[in-house]
């Protein structure tokens, strides 16, 4: 069975202003409605990876090309961030 692909949802937009990155829910998104979520570099990177449909493995591979970190750290961070974004409805399987 092939690995699922995920994509960001149009109910959210990422705004990068200076060094700040915030995720803004602009549609009906339940518990996150009318909130503004501060994104760190990892989350911003993940968001951009999934603007087009990608698998988690592809995102990890791209992160490895972009950042240097001890074995397993990148994988752990990407998976953790993706899980969180899926749980919040920011990323959905396509």
């Amino acid at each position: 069975m092939s690995e699922p692909k995920y994509q960001t949802q149009p109910e959210f937009i990422l705004r990068e202003i200076g060094d700040e990155a915030v995720l803004v829910p602009v549609g009906a998104v339940g518990e996150l409605e009318n909130s503004i979520i501060n994104f760190n570099e990892t989350y911003s990177f993940i968001w951009k990876q999934f603007e087009e449909p990608h698998t988690i493995s592809e995102a990890i591979e791209n992160a490895r090309r972009e950042y240097e970190a001890p074995e397993g750290v990148i994988e752990e961070q990407v998976k953790g961030a993706v899980d969180e974004l899926i749980k919040r409805g920011v990323l959905k399987a396509v």
Partner: protein, 400 residues
């Protein structure tokens, strides 16, 4: 720096930056930008300069607040307009997001509240009931100057308006403005502001409202650089000729040609209006043109400088949250009395109708003006305050 920040394209920004002087006291500039509510507008340009860590932290903190406020007010605007619409009440957003959408970074325009205008003023009490049922609170139950202030359930300020601008002491002008905004249904359009759809004025009416709003503040407590920035971003884009013509007709009918000229002239001279050549206005000789013809004839550079000084002074008053002596139509005692009467009616809309109360109300209004002006002007005497008001009045007489 503001000119640079308001350019849409990166090439134009670089070109404008290259023309700027390197000899800048950055710390003072940051404080001035904060005072004028434009710090977030010049944020990126300031960050490109060598600033120390303390200033950077201050700017980041301020900018973060502006961005957060912008989105919170956007949500309030969307939810309030949605709530009213669901109950059959049409309304439009005034200033705020409707202008912010024209900035290179919409979140950079500082907001302190949300202003909503009802399409039909007769819906006011119905809208009031709907909002209160939804948890909006109006503490003082006032309805001064045709608007009412509410705290939203998350304690933000939202103002509901039944008139686009507050009335002046010119009855004929009030009548024109009131009629002009009486049936605006066809001049409201839905626009996407960073993915959020909001009802806004079409360009001609938007320009007219921005101008009226500035005039109202100019003749009242003054206004700062932020409103000039609005004027720059509005015209630094293509506006259809038909909309420009509609706007110019309104300006002519109100006799505001000279104010339009000094405002636009100052924006060209100091704030980069028309600088990247992609907007609606161009300058040639003493005239400013749009693609359909003459937009306005410029006033003298002395008058433009005088106007700019007034804007900076107005910004100080806005920052301190105080009122100042308004510009008057003349220097005579009758002009002062007439203005006090007008201000009294605006400040005390109900009590002001009772003739017997008027002398007491005049004294209160006079005391407030002198006290507030004294605070802002560092202990200036009452005579000095009246003299300054006289200078403003002379500029006002040149413009109206």
């Amino acid at each position: 720096m503001i000119a640079e920040s308001l350019c849409v394209s990166a090439e134009s920004r670089t070109e404008v930056r290259d023309k700027s002087s390197d000899d800048i006291d950055i710390h003072s500039l940051i404080l001035l930008a904060k005072e004028e509510s434009v710090l977030s507008i010049v944020y990126e340009s300031l960050r490109a300069l060598a600033i120390d860590d303390e200033d950077k932290a201050f700017m980041d903190f301020t900018n973060k607040g502006t961005v957060t406020d912008f989105w919170q007010f956007m949500f309030i605007a969307r939810d309030t307009l949605g709530l009213l619409s669901k109950n059959g009440i049409n309304a439009v957003i005034l200033k705020g997001a409707s202008v912010a959408r024209l900035y290179p970074v919409p979140e950079s325009r500082k907001s302190t509240d949300v202003d909503i205008l009802l399409e039909n003023p007769e819906d006011f009490e119905k809208a009031d009931r709907i909002l209160k049922n939804a948890g909006y609170v109006n503490e003082d139950h006032s309805y001064a100057n045709h608007h009412r202030e509410y705290y939203t359930p998350d304690k933000r300020v939202m103002e509901l308006h039944s008139m686009a601008v507050e009335p002046t002491d010119n009855v004929k002008l009030n009548k024109y403005v009131s009629e002009r905004f009486a049936s605006i249904g066809s001049e409201i359009e839905k626009k996407k502001v960073l993915s959020v759809v909001l009802p806004v004025f079409t360009d001609g009416l938007q320009a007219f409202h921005l101008l009226l709003h500035m005039i109202m503040h100019f003749l009242g407590e003054g206004f700062g650089l932020k409103l000039l920035c609005d004027w720059v971003v509005f015209w630094n884009r293509k506006v259809e000729d038909g909309e420009v013509q509609k706007f110019l007709e309104d300006v002519k009918n109100c006799g505001y040609e000279k104010f339009l000229a000094v405002l636009t002239g100052v924006c060209i001279r100091y704030l980069g209006l028309g600088v990247d050549g992609t907007g609606s206005l161009t300058e040639s000789g003493n005239y400013i043109y749009y693609s359909g013809g003459v937009f306005c004839e410029r006033l003298s550079s002395e008058t433009e400088d005088e106007f700019m000084r007034e804007i900076i002074e107005g910004g100080k008053h806005k920052k301190s949250g105080t009122e100042r002596m308004v510009a008057l139509k003349g220097d005579g005692i009758l002009d002062y009395i007439r203005e006090f009467h007008h201000q009294t009616i605006l400040s005390f809309p109900k009590a002001g109708r009772t003739i017997i109360a008027l002398p007491v109300l005049y004294v209160i209004v006079l005391y407030r003006f002198l006290r507030n002006n004294r605070t802002v002007r560092g202990g200036q005497s009452a005579l000095g305050i009246l003299k300054s008001a006289g200078e403003r009045s002379r500029l006002a007489r040149k413009l109206f």
